[in-house]
């Protein structure tokens, strides 16, 4: 079976690389690859080269950053203590190891084959190596302060660490599942690793407590010094050895220390791997009899759409844009339910924390109290909605490209389809932005008492007019990119992989930003002219006509661009749209 696992891993990797190399014959991938490689070169290698050439700093690993020394300074025993604490987490947190998740193909080929559960576990270890090796190589590549063979040692050490973590997590999942077994003997075995781990915690913990009680620390730093001292000797150091051993190789500063460290880490890995494969008795409980536990849980956790009545029946006559607007409303309101709102409290919590912290840092007495908080929060939400909303709410052509066949078979003008697809997300994001602006304005009297009334409300009205125009402009740019470069667009939740796909995304991001600036420029110039002419007469109120003109120009551009995009939409080749690998 191991041969088959290596064969699958080898062929899949080889064919994926071959496919990615072959697609470089297409300009869209070649250009993306060049951009991606250039990014890598400037972000990693050129930076490392510059650091190496700095006066007083050598490229040699022993003259630059020495991870071995850093590891020694931080305290090997402290690192072991950290790993011991981390090792407790999989027992406490109810997560299932990735090694117990099988793909559809694995389920259909391997679960129907004469293969034991133990062999399936070994297969998953083999299959996971490609990702672990790639991740480790990236760690080695990005470790800019280290050069040459040091990068390789770091990558190798990190690889063994990653494999050990994966296998340990899987072994814990399987052992925890023993408690669900109806057989008492199977349940009893689960206590062995738990007992060992708790014994380790007890030995180390009691030694630390004793030390801190005998010699109370003089400062915060002294706590670490004393913990490091007590865990570096005697029984605690013996108990912590396996936990130290697995983190030692990545931090070995030289070849002479690396290989002994690697040998120690491999011993720990071997023990953990043996524990994992001998825990196969609970395989079916964790992975599911057909290896489909993850898929079943995913289905249960997924938000199930319901055909709730929205109270808006689509009239049978009218503009096409309104029909597509209606479609967007239906899709959004049905996709949103109580489960969807789970993300809101953490987002609001972070926002409030950021605003609160910024108040604390500013220390400005004028900006205190709930009104000030609401003013700042409103401003921040409006800013986020205006600048990031069009990237986050993708209910336009970017998501409907999945239905491109259907859209293109409709007897509609292309410009109508484009505008109709954008109409609802523009309205939704604008609604959020305008509400936030008005909230900020309503509380600005108490929140910003030193700012005159005329300025506060002029700014608010100007923002209420300008924000929807900017949101519409952004949606136009994003949809224009989708139409003009359909091959580079991320469809739904899929994400193309590879350095060429990364390069494509970088180019597209730059193009979107430049286009947005060009979109806003004429309106900004016109608004600037109005400022120069009217400010001396109108004062703060000049902001309102400025934003009226700005919004009018931007919205005119939106109309013009959507019309111009029509022929490009008609020419879209649906076969060029990227499909997931």
């Amino acid at each position: 079976m191991l041969n088959a696992s290596f064969y699958i891993a080898w062929c899949s990797t080889k064919n994926r690389v071959r496919m990615r190399l072959r697609r470089l014959r297409e300009p869209r991938y070649l250009i993306g690859a060049i951009a991606g490689i250039a990014y890598f070169y400037f972000a990693v290698f050129a930076r490392a080269g510059r650091q190496g050439r700095r006066p007083g700093r050598g490229r040699s690993e022993d003259r630059g950053f020495d991870p071995g020394s850093a590891f020694q300074i931080a305290g090997t025993s402290l690192a072991g203590l950290f790993v011991l604490c981390a090792a407790l987490l999989p027992w406490v947190l109810p997560t299932r190891s990735k090694l117990l998740e099988f793909s559809q193909a694995e389920r259909e080929f391997l679960f129907t084959a004469p293969v034991s559960r133990r062999q399936l576990l070994l297969h998953r270890i083999v299959r996971s190596q490609v990702a672990s090796i790639i991740a480790s190589l990236f760690v080695g590549l990005f470790a800019a302060p280290i050069a040459g063979v040091g990068r390789l040692r770091l990558a190798l050490g990190f690889w063994v660490l990653a494999v050990t973590i994966n296998v340990y997590s899987c072994a814990v999942s399987l052992t925890r599942a023993r408690f669900q077994s109806p057989v008492a003997a199977v349940r009893r075995v689960a206590w062995v690793p738990i007992g060992l781990l708790l014994a380790c915690v007890a030995v180390v913990g009691s030694a630390i407590v004793r030390q801190l009680l005998q010699q109370p620390p003089a400062s915060g730093a002294d706590v670490f010094v004393q913990i490091s001292r007590v865990t570096s000797a005697g029984l605690p150091s013996v108990v912590l050895w396996p936990f130290v051993a697995i983190v030692r190789p990545p931090f070995s500063g030289s070849v002479t220390t690396f290989f002994p460290a690697l040998a120690g880490a491999l011993v720990v890995l071997a023990v953990v791997a043996t524990w994992m494969v001998t825990s196969d008795v609970t395989f079916d409980i964790v992975a599911g009899e057909g290896g489909d536990a993850q898929a079943t849980e995913g289905r249960k956790a997924a938000v199930v759409p319901r055909a709730t009545a929205i109270g808006w029946t689509l009239p049978l006559t009218g503009r096409a844009e309104l029909a597509l607007f209606w479609k967007g409303v239906m899709e959004t309101l049905r996709a949103v339910n109580i489960k969807s709102w789970r993300v809101l409290p953490p987002i609001l919590g972070v926002l409030i924390a950021v605003v609160g912290a910024s108040f604390g840092i500013a220390g400005d007495q004028r900006m205190r109290g709930p009104s000030a908080l609401l003013t700042a929060l409103g401003g921040m939400v409006a800013g986020v909605a205006t600048l990031l909303g069009p990237q986050m709410l993708r209910l336009d052509l970017r998501s409907d490209f999945l239905h491109l066949d259907l859209l293109k078979s409709w007897p509609l003008r292309a410009a109508d389809v484009i505008r109709g697809e954008m109409a609802w997300p523009i309205a939704a994001v604008s609604g959020v932005a305008v509400s936030a602006i008005l909230t900020a304005a309503a509380f600005s009297g108490a929140g910003l008492p030193n700012v005159p009334f005329a300025w506060r409300w002029s700014v608010a009205f100007a923002a209420v007019l300008a924000a929807p125009a900017m949101i519409a402009a952004q949606y136009t740019v994003h949809n224009a990119a989708t139409i003009l470069f359909p091959a580079w667009v991320q469809l739904g939740s899929q994400r193309a992989r590879g350095i060429d796909a990364m390069g494509q995304r970088l180019i597209l991001l730059a193009a979107v930003l430049v286009s947005l600036v060009l979109f806003a420029l004429p309106g900004a110039i016109a608004a600037g002219v109005i400022w120069l002419i009217l400010y001396r007469f109108a004062g703060a109120a000049v902001l309102v006509p400025m934003s009226v003109v700005f919004a009018a120009i931007v919205l005119t551009e939106v109309l013009a661009v959507t019309e111009l995009l029509g022929p490009a939409y008609e020419r879209i080749d649906v076969t060029s749209v990227e499909r997931a690998e």
Binding site: A307, T313, L314, A320, D405, K408, S409, R413
Partner: protein, 241 residues
């Protein structure tokens, strides 16, 4: 001529999917489009529906060029693809209503009611696609195609996923639409279906049209034995005997 294809060629890079295809379908005709996998059938249907643009050649629907006069051409046709792609959050009834709005269908309520009965979708009007089986979703796609009075109907594997009763009803539906005067092009691998309902058959292989005519004409041209069925003719014509 309801469907007029003249020297249609479609390439993908260096690969030619359809090569110099010409065919006509008149009102009331039901033409079967058959061929082995990769013959170019779906590419042809997608080009007829205005989804793909011809690399060269022309396609006219009801006298309107699908590239130059796309909106008028699309108004006259209904394309029912083999893979039912529906909007995840619109109900069956809302899909029909949206289609009716986009195609300006008069008397929508009566038509929708009749279609829902005809395609056995009764009771599923307020269901979302995620709540339907594949066969049911296929029926919704077909209902959306039939809710308007299209003069050209394009079916790509219309029976995929349907149960035996559904297959029987769908056969009757296609024949009824043909008798009512629609020009129908049906792509299918189910040769007995094609033989049973189609008035004419077009066989494609490797992007080219290799035969066109009634089953009797094809049998005669292929020098097939007397009483040969379409499967035997197909194998002979495509050289896969």
């Amino acid at each position: 001529m309801s469907i007029a294809v003249q020297h249609f060629t479609r390439t993908y890079g260096t690969f030619t999917a359809v090569d110099d295809l010409s065919l006509q379908v008149t009102a009331g005709e039901i033409v079967g489009l058959i061929g082995p996998n990769g013959a170019g059938k779906t590419t042809t249907l997608r080009a007829l529906a205005g989804i793909l643009r011809p690399t060269s050649g022309t396609i006219a629907i009801g006298g309107h060029d699908i590239a130059a006069d796309a909106i008028e051409a699309k108004r006259r046709l209904a394309f029912m693809p083999d893979e039912p792609h529906l909007f995840e959050y619109l109900t069956v009834d809302e899909h029909l209503r949206l289609t009716a709005r986009l195609y300006a269908v008069p008397d929508f309520d009566a038509r929708a009611r009749a279609l829902i009965d005809e395609l056995e979708l009764t009771g599923k009007e307020r269901a979302l696609p995620g709540e339907l089986s594949r066969g049911m979703r296929q029926k919704v796609v077909i209902a959306c195609g039939l809710v308007r009075d299209a003069s050209v109907l394009l079916f790509d594997e219309p029976l995929t996923g349907l149960d035996p009763i559904g297959i029987r009803k769908m056969r009757a539906t296609i024949v009824a639409r043909g008798r009512a005067g629609a020009a129908i092009l049906v792509s299918s691998h189910l040769l007995h279906l094609v033989e049973e309902i189609c008035t004419r058959v077009v066989i494609m292989d490797r992007g080219k049209k290799v035969a066109d005519g009634t089953v009797a004409e094809l049998a005669s041209r292929a020098e097939a034995a007397a009483g040969s069925n379409l499967e035997q003719i197909f194998l002979k014509v495509t050289g896969r005997e």
